[in-house]
Symmetry: C2
Subunit: 259 residues, 2 copies
């Protein structure tokens, strides 16, 4: 590793099938969200995947690790995070994926010719996965937090990301996104008209508590409606251990929608 | 009963606590949907409830049966169904509710002074419950069905019903609606901006199958976000019997959101 690399960790995912080089302390650290998002790509999928907001590459590599027919482009706006994504691909433990993955430093919210110019041309992908950034502070049940939450819902983030996803996908392409339930309204609004058939899996930490995430998958070129699937419950009633299904998804041994 | 009354049945709900006079064969027959919707009103609620699209009065009476502090206005556009609602209120077995309920023959999609003129003035209710009509045919997985489904999603039904709900409610009023999951996008769009804090309970026939309904409850005068609650599962893995929780809700012995 380069001596001027900021403090980092090397974390093992999918029971050792790949590793992630990511910043220590600062920046967004990948974890279960990325593994769940990656599990939304069917195991039998074959084609080109774009990981929008890839960070250090967790979700993209998790797709490559489980889906033999996939290639991945890790699209990341921040040069610092893109550097980590490159280091992830360069890590000897990930050598098996190197020929199937690349890093693209680009802002996914660009439009038109600007978007094409940075390498996000029309019909260049078959599947887009995305884990758009959000401010964890808005989860706080404070008046201030609620204000910020409302702001996040109105600021058009999902609309911009979904607009680009629709633009870079082929006619039958799919998109998956993991988000907070509070974002469901703007998320569905961003999908409407751009994608057809859509499915949602709510993700609950525990069976008796509200969902902490939703995963939405939608397909272009279809006119189907919205299906609300049974939830994924991460933990049992007590303790911090994963449920059998969450464990399989976190380790790249199960699909989120097909099982 | 009047001799010119169309064929009807008298059905027992809430383990005999009220009865419903409803058309036999034709028309919409009330059942579990209405009982689930009614369970969205907190047991401790006190105030004026409007049942939009009341039919023969199932949901409205189910609220009165469980919520001692509630009064109900059964708002029904069809004179034929409103007649059944009146017969329901006149039935001797429902005598205990008669002083707390009335029937209003009115189209809930009216606006402005037209809406006020039919008896749906501003600030006249504290809670609106609604079970908007939908065409069961759209659930079919046929190309024709999908077309109709898309049509239903675009025709502004939820927008019109929610606009009226917001208009007749006081500053802190609540609305509840039961709908199909396919309607989630237009439903959330109709709630956005008119109501704040919202909660959804998905309803599944069986734990491993997609949701068949969603119940959304939202409140005016709040700026909260959207909460996705644990699902209600109606049946066990096999057989047609209700789960303990579904049984309690169907019989008016449990709330949908508070328990």
């Amino acid at each position: 590793m380069s001596p001027d690399l900021p403090a980092h960790t090397i974390d093992v995912f999918h029971r050792g099938r790949f590793r992630l080089v990511q910043p220590k302390g600062g920046g967004h650290r990948a974890g279960v969200d990325a593994m769940i998002l990656a599990a939304s790509v069917p195991a039998g999928f074959a084609g080109r995947v774009a990981d929008f907001g890839a960070g250090a590459g967790a979700a993209g590599l998790a797709v490559l690790s489980r889906v033999a027919g996939a290639t991945a482009t890790l699209v990341e706006q921040s040069p610092e995070m893109a550097q980590f994504a490159s280091l992830t691909l360069d890590h000897p433990a990930n050598a098996g994926f190197r020929g199937r993955a690349s890093v693209l430093v680009a802002d996914v919210t660009l439009t038109g010719t600007d978007r094409e110019a940075v390498g996000l041309a029309g019909n260049s992908f078959d599947f887009v996965i995305m884990n758009p950034p959000f401010n964890p502070a808005v989860d706080r049940a404070s008046p201030d937090g609620l204000k910020r939450q409302a702001h996040v819902m109105e600021d058009g983030l999902f609309d911009r990301w979904m607009r680009s996803a629709a633009a870079v996908l082929g006619a039958k392409g799919s998109v998956s996104v993991i988000a907070r339930p509070v974002s469901l309204a703007p998320l569905l609004a961003a999908v409407s008209g751009r994608f057809g058939e859509a499915e949602i899996v709510p993700v609950h930490a525990r069976a008796g508590q509200p969902a902490i995430r939703v995963v939405l998958r939608a397909r272009r070129g279809s006119r189907g409606g919205l299906t609300l699937r049974p939830p994924l419950v991460l933990h049992g009633e007590t303790g911090n251990g994963f449920s059998a299904r969450a464990e399989a998804i976190n380790n790249g041994n199960a699909s989120l929608f097909e099982d």
